[in-house]
């Protein structure tokens, strides 16, 4: 393999990255991901937007754009950096993937909370495109329109008003006694967290990075 040496050389680094963000995976899993990365990038060191957009399976996904953007978003790199990248290397790829790791069953309560926050933050960032810490109505509408664009029954106008209704719901739950001339700027991360507290993010937003054989994708269901 073209980059295999490079991979071996950097394995330590990767494992370190992964450890930093509690991404407890085996070398095997990293290797799998690395292979996939190579496949996507066409054996280059970096991956670009076009590479991801070429994945055929993504074509049916209504929020393809948001997902791909999330991969190139610096905020998802755990480095308090803002902006977006043009290309990402394997490290960055791993970082983004690390948001989807399952929580260890032995993890402490504290760790679980951190993980949950991270996951929520990832989702939040997908909404909050201009990075001002607030999902404004316009931002939310864009997402909802995209999201509902595939279900034929709902037109853009309805999607918009659904977004509006959702926004208002958030406003009314979080600011119960809003004076009539108050203005709800948008969903902050705290509100976002508050509203989604019913969803078991930490266990549901996880993917097993196991059994990945990109050359011969096995079509078996994981039993669970």
């Amino acid at each position: 393999m073209y980059n295999y040496k490079h991979y071996c050389k950097n394995l330590h680094k990767y494992i370190h990255i992964v450890d930093v963000c509690f991404f407890t995976v085996s070398q095997e899993q990293i290797k799998n991901l690395y292979q996939r990365f190579q496949q996507l990038s066409g054996n280059h060191e970096k991956i670009s937007r076009d590479d991801l957009e070429r994945i055929p399976a993504l074509n049916n996904n209504p929020i393809r754009k948001q997902i791909i953007t999330a991969f190139f978003d610096k905020r998802n790199q755990h480095q308090n950096d803002v902006g977006s990248l043009d290309e990402i290397g394997f490290e960055q790829f791993l970082m983004v993937m690390s948001h989807f790791r399952p929580v260890n069953s032995t993890a402490t309560e504290e760790e679980k909370v951190t993980v949950r926050k991270q996951k929520l933050r990832f989702l939040f960032n997908m909404h909050d495109t201009d990075n001002d810490g607030i999902i404004t109505l316009d931002e939310y509408r864009t997402v909802v329109e995209e999201l509902l664009s595939q279900s034929g029954a709902i037109e853009t106008e309805v999607a918009r008003s659904i977004a509006d209704a959702a926004m208002l719901e958030v406003a009314s739950t979080n600011v119960p006694h809003m004076a009539p001339d108050d203005f709800y700027e948008g969903i902050t991360f705290e509100h976002f967290e508050q509203i989604l507290k019913g969803i078991e993010m930490e266990s549901r937003m996880s993917i097993r990075f196991l059994d990945m054989n990109t050359a011969t994708m096995r079509c078996g269901k994981l039993s669970s």
Binding site: L58, N60, N61, T136, S151, A166, L196, I199, I207, M217
Partner: protein, 806 residues
């Protein structure tokens, strides 16, 4: 509506219990009188003529009364589960019969149980199965249901056989095969008692579905296993060779999967049928029951697994039925299903109790009985822990230790085991009575003792509870987004996992299955997000109405004519803007229905005024939207369409809309509009709020949405202007011309007048639900004076209807 469900229920129940009694008492003697009449009797006593159905009905009544008494004592049922109490009730009844007759007259025969009592219980379980949850955990459920059951059967049979060889239970004439047969019938786990407890304490979803799904499939698997072993026993020990054993294993899978397949076929058939039952709405719920039962019988006829068949039939058709059928029919199906299942369950448990009081079956063998009890419990624990241990290695979210304990402890045995035990052939199995007796004891032990201790155990172990959350729109949306994200990540990481499979299935389902099995109109509203949105709108409207009632203001009742415009509008497909204007009066004649209800409202209002409005809220609540239903009877058997819910909802909507618009105009009187919005015409502004609401509302009605005038919608979202909140809409209404007393204008400025910042006007979402907080506020502060002023022009066109003007 539900009456018909109950009637059906009674009919079926009586038919089935006829068989109970007739099998015991022999054919009912139909006496023919008149052979030697000496005179014409005015009345005659013909007990024999009605004996069988009479007894059946009477027994059903008694069981139901028993349940009634039991359920009346909440403090008892909160400690002891209902099923246990019903069994005890059966003991008492059986004792009474015994004391009277000295013979066991009534018992649960396998025919009655498997043909008339069990199907509806299983159908109900399948129909109400949370499909998504079930299929997410399908792997685990299958492993437990298939391997777990086989393990339980084999281990119990072998251990008992071993103990007998060791001489632990004296002299018994039971061979290895017969032990295995016994083991297979004891493997049936009954969900009823566990589920009842689980529902009380709301355990988490995964645990619930594991136990529920397992026990459901496990019933089917047990019956299959039982039949296989039964065949082996009939064949006799010496004739069994490797070929026969392989045949047995093959038949096991063929029977199980064949049964499921039959169920799927019938499920699809029901779905297809309900596409075209629009014209026979009254009997449309009957299809589900009849076809469900037929799927059971068909599978039985083909000697496939009938239980699995009816389970999958129910699971497969639920989605399409709910989408295709009328809302009323869906409700009827749900209620009738519950009534059937619950009724059967009651009867089953009572008869389980009654069966105990029978001298014939009580053959005591301490070793056999105690060892069975012990092994049943122990092997269940071992099986569950071992299988879960394996499963946990592949599960993303492992099942916790506590969950495993509950799963093991939840292995209660029930009526299926008893039914199978009674089915044993006395000629082939000498110790049948001992087996029946042991089965009964195990059933009593598990249902009563484990049932009682289950709840404290769940509490004590602090089993993770299900989070009870009200689904908010944002949550729904985020959930959707979240699922798509997961699929995308799986795609990107090149992995084929759950999410990938699910998304592919969904794609297939949406594009093919729904297209074939669903009505075109139903397809439109299947999106859940849209559902929640619609419900939110509804809730909003209802809240608005109740709010008005609570405040004791009857304004919104008083201007009844509001209905007329709106009614018309929502009915006519192409939404004519001119008609929507509240001051117009043409075209309102087309729909006379509302006027009928207006009359009713009028009467109610009078009553309220007389009663000093203290209980106004109550009265309105009781009568406002039900008047027509209560005062008009229809005797037609095929039409049941008076005042359907939809219409009530429509009314609520229309009233709400009307009043909101009024509130906008009146609240804004005398306020200078901010400049940004001046460019909108007044008419447009009035239209907007209504547009949005009635849009969602029309959309839910299905077809009408298509003919909707969309160009108008677009106009409301003019670029640059952002969105405007209708509640804050500046008013250029002719109302301005009315002379408003300065104090009135002042007070409104103070209390409810809202001056918006520029930004807020641009950004505040303009949706129906934002009126939730704003509109009632306005109503409350508005003086009645301003309201009556408003009403003056409206009363004129109300006279289009003669009813109103009288």
């Amino acid at each position: 509506m539900l009456r018909c469900g109950y009637a059906l229920f009674w009919l079926l129940e009586s038919v089935l219990l006829i068989c109970v009694v007739s099998s015991v008492k022999g054919e009912a003697v139909v006496t023919r009188e008149g052979s030697n009449i000496t005179g014409i009797p005015i009345i005659s006593f013909k007990w024999h003529h009605v004996e069988t159905p009479y007894l059946v009905a009477f027994w059903v009544l008694v069981s139901f009364l028993g349940k009634l008494v039991i359920e009346a004592n909440h403090h008892v049922t909160s400690v002891i589960p209902e099923s246990a109490l019903l069994i005890c009730f059966g003991f008492i009844l059986g004792g009474m019969i015994w004391a009277a007759d000295k013979v066991q007259t009534f018992r649960l025969t396998p025919t009655v149980f498997f043909f008339y009592l069990l199907p509806q219980v299983i159908l109900d379980a399948g129909y109400h199965m949370p499909n998504k949850l079930f299929f997410t955990n399908l792997g685990g459920i299958l492993v437990h249901a298939v391997i777990g059951t086989c393990w339980n059967a084999a281990s119990l049979g072998l251990s008992l056989w071993g103990c007998q060889m060791g001489g632990a239970m004296g002299d018994l004439d039971i061979g290895l095969l017969q032990y295995l047969l016994f083991g297979s019938l004891m493997a049936a786990v009954d969900p009823v008692a566990v589920i009842a407890v689980f529902e009380q304490v709301h355990v988490n979803d995964v645990l619930f579905i594991m136990v529920f799904g397992e026990s459901l499939l496990n019933d089917g698997v047990t019956v299959v296993l039982f039949n296989v072993f039964d065949a082996f026993v009939s064949l006799g020990g010496p004739k069994i060779d490797a070929a026969e054993i392989i045949k047995g294993i093959v038949s096991f899978f063929v029977v199980a999967f064949g049964g499921s397949l039959v169920g799927l076929v019938f499920g699809l058939l029901i779905s297809l049928l309900t596409r075209c039952t629009k014209n026979i709405q009254i009997i449309e719920p009957g299809f589900i029951f009849v076809l469900g039962y037929l799927s059971y019988l068909t599978a039985e006829m083909l000697s496939l697994s009938a239980i699995l068949s009816i389970v999958f039939c129910g699971m497969c058709c639920q989605k399409y039925i709910n989408a295709n059928m009328d809302e009323n029919s869906v409700q009827t199906v749900r209620y009738a299903m519950k009534a059937f299942a619950n009724g059967s369950e009651t009867i089953i448990f009572v008869f389980l109790g009654i069966s105990a009081i029978d001298k014939v079956i009580w053959v005591w063998n301490t070793g056999f009985i105690l060892l069975t009890l012990l092994f049943v419990l122990v092997y269940r624990f071992i099986g569950v822990f071992f299988l879960t241990w394996i499963l946990n290695r592949y599960r993303l979210v492992p099942l916790e230790f506590v969950d495993q304990v509950i799963m093991s402890y939840g292995g209660l045995r029930g009526a299926v085991a008893y039914g199978l035990a009674v089915m044993l052939d006395e000629n082939k199995i000498k110790e049948k009575n001992l087996m029946v007796c042991t089965t009964l004891i195990v059933v009593y032990f598990t249902v009563i003792l484990q049932g009682i201790t289950m709840k404290p155990l769940v509490m004590w172990l602090k089993v993770k509870r299900a989070a009870v959350t009200e689904v908010s729109l944002l949550e729904k949306l985020t959930n959707k987004m979240f699922n798509h994200t997961l699929v995308a990540i799986e795609d990107i990481s090149g992995q084929i996992g759950h999410n990938y499979m699910r998304s592919k299935w969904k794609y297939f389902e949406e594009n093919w299955m729904s297209w074939i099995l669903m009505k075109p109109s139903a397809r439109k509203k299947q999106d859940q997000v849209f559902d929640v949105f619609h419900q939110l709108n509804l809730k909003d409207a209802m809240e608005y109405v109740t709010e008005g009632e609570r405040r004791g203001s009857l304004e919104f009742v008083r201007n009844e004519n509001s209905i007329i415009d709106f009614k018309k509008k929502s009915e006519s497909e192409s939404f004519d803007i001119n008609n929507a204007n509240m001051s117009n009066d043409h075209g309102a004649i087309r729909d006379p229905i509302p006027s009928v209800s207006l009359e009713m409202h009028e009467q109610i209002m009078k009553a309220v005024r007389e009663a000093e409005a203290i209980n106004a809220h109550h009265l309105l609540d009781q009568h406002l939207y039900k008047s027509r239903k209560q005062h008009r009877h229809r005797f037609s058997r095929s039409h049941f369409d008076i005042n359907r819910d939809e219409k009530e909802v429509q009314e609520i909507f229309q009233r709400t809309m009307r009043n909101r618009m009024k509130s906008f105009t009146s609240a804004k009187m005398g306020v200078k509009p901010p400049k940004t919005i001046v460019k909108h015409t007044q008419k447009e502004q009035q239209q907007k709020p209504m547009k949005i609401l009635s849009r969602s509302f029309l959309g839910s009605e299905g077809d009408s949405a298509s003919g909707y005038d969309q160009s108008y919608m677009r106009a409301t979202y003019r670029a640059g202007a952002g969105i405007e909140n209708p509640a804050f809409m500046p008013d250029l209404d002719p109302m301005d011309l009315l002379q408003i007393p300065p104090w009135l204008g002042e007070s409104e400025l103070d209390s409810s007048m809202v001056a918006l910042s520029h930004r807020a006007q641009v950004d505040l979402p303009r949706t129906p639900s934002n009126l939730r907080r704003l509109a009632p506020l306005r109503i409350s502060t508005r003086s009645t004076a301003s309201f009556t002023l408003e009403n003056i022009p409206d009363t004129q066109h109300a006279c289009v209807f003669p009813q109103n003007c009288n």
